[in-house]
């Protein structure tokens, strides 16, 4: 048995439909909504603001803190226990590291910028959606950033190289699967997040990464449009 056609009928390198919007949470300094297929992420950015406890402060630069959380009803299976878990802590950390190379907070020493991402619904690719939403929200909050970060999962399902795996593909049982979430900077095409789960050959990995860099362009365009749209609306009041 080989994987002949994708479960949701997409082309091998086709992404799930994406929707993005900036400025959805009025109380936050910047916010965003990012939906890819059935995965939905809301990001809210607060700051730069005072950082306590004081020993966390860095007198050279502001710091970036991320918080990732799946809502209890968001998963496909059991209720997800809310709050910090081993998994959500890891994803919070990789988000921070994926976004850190672009944000520049040297103008704001001793402060913090907090990014909160909540996922009301998930269907694989949640850390990628979280990073995409966070990037839009940071830009919306007027944080100095050298680039836009877009994230996407690539990988293999059986003998096929695919982009943007959904949950059914991630849990494909009739052959080997590799799931590689990656974050790519829009201009420099540098990779700021690269994780892998599963098995893949060296050649296939190289091809998958190339595909990831290619398709990230589409996501970046959607992200850029989302930020601009916030300021284009209500031209006549």
């Amino acid at each position: 048995m080989t994987y002949k056609k994708r479960f949701d009928g997409r082309d091998w390198l086709e992404l799930r439909p994406i929707e993005a919007k900036a400025g959805v949470i009025k109380n936050a300094d910047g916010s965003a909504y990012f939906k890819i297929g059935k995965t939905v992420a809301y990001a809210a950015v607060y700051g730069p603001r005072e950082l306590h406890p004081k020993f966390l402060q860095n007198p050279k630069t502001g710091i970036l803190r991320c918080y990732y959380d799946m809502m209890p009803f968001s998963g496909i299976g059991d209720r997800v226990r809310p709050g910090a878990s081993r998994r959500s802590k890891e994803i919070s950390m990789v988000m921070e590291k994926a976004l850190a190379p672009v944000v520049d907070l040297r103008e704001y020493p001793n402060t913090t910028v907090d990014v909160f991402v909540e996922l009301p619904q998930t269907d694989a690719g949640s850390r990628c959606a979280a990073i995409c939403a966070a990037a839009i929200a940071l830009a919306d909050a007027g944080i100095t950033m050298s680039d836009i970060v877009s994230a996407i999962a690539v990988g293999r399902v059986d003998d096929k190289i695919v982009a943007d795996l959904n949950y059914d593909e991630e849990s494909y049982e009739d052959g080997p699967v590799a799931d590689i979430p990656m974050a790519i900077l829009y201009n420099s095409k540098e990779i700021s997040l690269l994780q892998m789960d599963g098995e893949i050959s060296k050649e296939e990995l190289a091809r998958a990464l190339e595909i990831g860099i290619q398709v990230s362009e589409q996501i970046a365009q959607i992200q850029i449009k989302a930020i601009k749209d916030k300021y284009m609306v209500n031209n006549n009041g």
Partner: protein, 226 residues
């Protein structure tokens, strides 16, 4: 390829503004090889060869000589600590107020926690420690009225050229308005309706600040509201 954007265009971080060494990166932009790339969400402003961005969003960053509206949050041995709607607090020393304060005097008899003041920033250090003063005409305690917060980057539009916009609102609504550079606006009017009208006008300017023909639209808006 040279200039890739037009003046007044809205750009986002990572967007390439120009691809030519003839242009120079200004504020909130940087150069990477030949390209000039935006570092912030903002509006393009080209001055000669320099391309800079005017930010559309973001919190207030204290600058020397800004006149701001602040709220007192704490009192120390020798002054007041205040919230300046920024990532940083500010300090008003008891010797920087228009009255003489004797040593060891109770500071609450001058200004108490929760009071709003109009002050001027006279010093900001590299670590953004902010000192403010009230020793200048026009800087005083703001009694009564109401306070609203707006995006600090929209403050120049709310004030207008030589204060034209804020004067317009003042005349039409009979309100007394003080706009701080930090995005805190204090206003007090003869009636509740007039205050609400002024708040609506300021919110409208904030929402449409980056669009052209604002003054005409505001004149119509205020005339309709009357």
């Amino acid at each position: 390829m040279a200039l890739l954007v037009e003046p007044k265009q809205i750009v986002v971080p990572g967007e390439v503004l120009a691809d030519d060494v003839d242009y120079l990166p200004g504020q909130y932009t940087y150069r990477s090889d030949k390209k000039i790339i935006a570092k912030r969400t903002g509006v393009v402003d080209i001055q000669g060869r320099a391309i800079k961005l005017i930010p559309l969003s973001g919190r207030y960053l204290p600058r020397i000589d800004d006149k701001i509206v602040v709220k007192i949050v704490d009192i120390t041995m020798n002054g007041w600590l205040m919230d300046i709607n920024s990532a940083y607090g500010a300090m008003l020393n008891s010797k920087d107020i228009p009255r003489f304060v004797r040593k060891g005097e109770d500071l609450t008899q001058y200004y108490d926690v929760g009071d709003y003041l109009r002050v001027r920033i006279f010093n900001v250090t590299s670590q953004n420690v902010v000192d403010v003063t009230m020793k200048e005409p026009g800087l005083q305690k703001l009694e009564g009225g109401r306070v609203i917060k707006i995006n600090p980057h929209k403050v120049p539009r709310v004030i207008g050229k030589q204060g034209s916009m804020v004067t317009l609102i003042k005349e039409k609504t009979q309100c007394n308005i003080t706009v701080g550079q930090n995005g805190v606006v204090w206003l007090k009017g003869p009636t509740l309706e007039s205050e609400v009208q002024a708040v609506c006008a300021i919110k409208k300017i904030e929402a449409e600040a980056h669009l052209e023909g604002l003054t005409e639209r505001m004149t119509i808006f205020l005339a309709e509201a009357q």
